[in-house]
Symmetry: C2
Subunit: 115 residues, 2 copies
DNA sequence: TCCTTATTTAACAAGATGATTAAATAAGGA
DNA sequence: TCCTTATTTAATCATCTTGTTAAATAAGGA
């Protein structure tokens, strides 16, 4: 998972319409028309949202006749989940226990907290 | 966790400089000057990144003399972790087992997958 | 008070984003 | 071939984001 990919995925997830699209796709594949139905936006807008999600590796597309259904990429959110996981001690520990955790931390250089 | 808050947090995390700032803060609080040091950007730019992170509820600020150190909000990533968690079955199940999972899914309306 | 340090605000330019409508393309069917 | 359905591309626009530099503000110390 490159830093750019992580940025692309977080950016893709920052839009509520795109999150709703993912929620819909979690129930099974759907065409652009299907996905557009619940929203007050045009077809081209949905088409572009799908492109953003696809570029972020969150969905994949297929082809059935004129339709180009989208489906969740099963491995989609793995990278983000792993990134978030680095910070789990910070929300699992209370403030008090966090102090102890920080004292145990060794300095180091990298992209995330050291454990 | 409102939908707007989730959007703000994902948007905040979409920037690599801001993720690096969080990584630095995971080792303890730091001032704007401290945080700016590793980057080739101006102080005002860092100051604004901190505002974005603060508005997203990911960090908090304090005051010591002229300094306004930032520190991780311990509960920061909880909401995002919970959101991601909804999709865990999709990356934990293989493609095959996912088919079975999807067959068991009941239709419904909401913001995330039904379990 | 004047000076220094730390940080923020203001004003601005460049680029990205998200939406629209109209037109183009793709695939099938009468 | 002509028509219909599904989707994408093009052109355009308004808004948001990110960065800059210069100036303002905040807090302490000589």
């Amino acid at each position: 998972m490159t830093d750019d990919m992580l940025s692309a995925q977080f950016a893709a997830l920052a839009d509520p319409t795109r999150r709703a699209i993912l929620a819909r796709l979690s129930q099974g594949e759907a065409s652009v028309n299907d996905l557009a139905a619940p929203f007050a936006v045009s077809l081209p807008a949905i088409s572009r949202h799908l492109k953003v999600l696809e570029n972020a590796g969150l969905i994949c597309r297929s082809r059935t006749a004129q339709r180009r259904p989208a489906c969740l990429d099963p491995h989609a959110l793995r990278g983000i989940a792993d990134w978030i996981e680095q910070y789990r001690p910070f929300w699992e520990a209370g403030f008090d226990r966090l102090d102890g955790y920080l004292e145990q931390l060794q300095a180091g250089d990298g992209d995330g907290p050291r454990h």
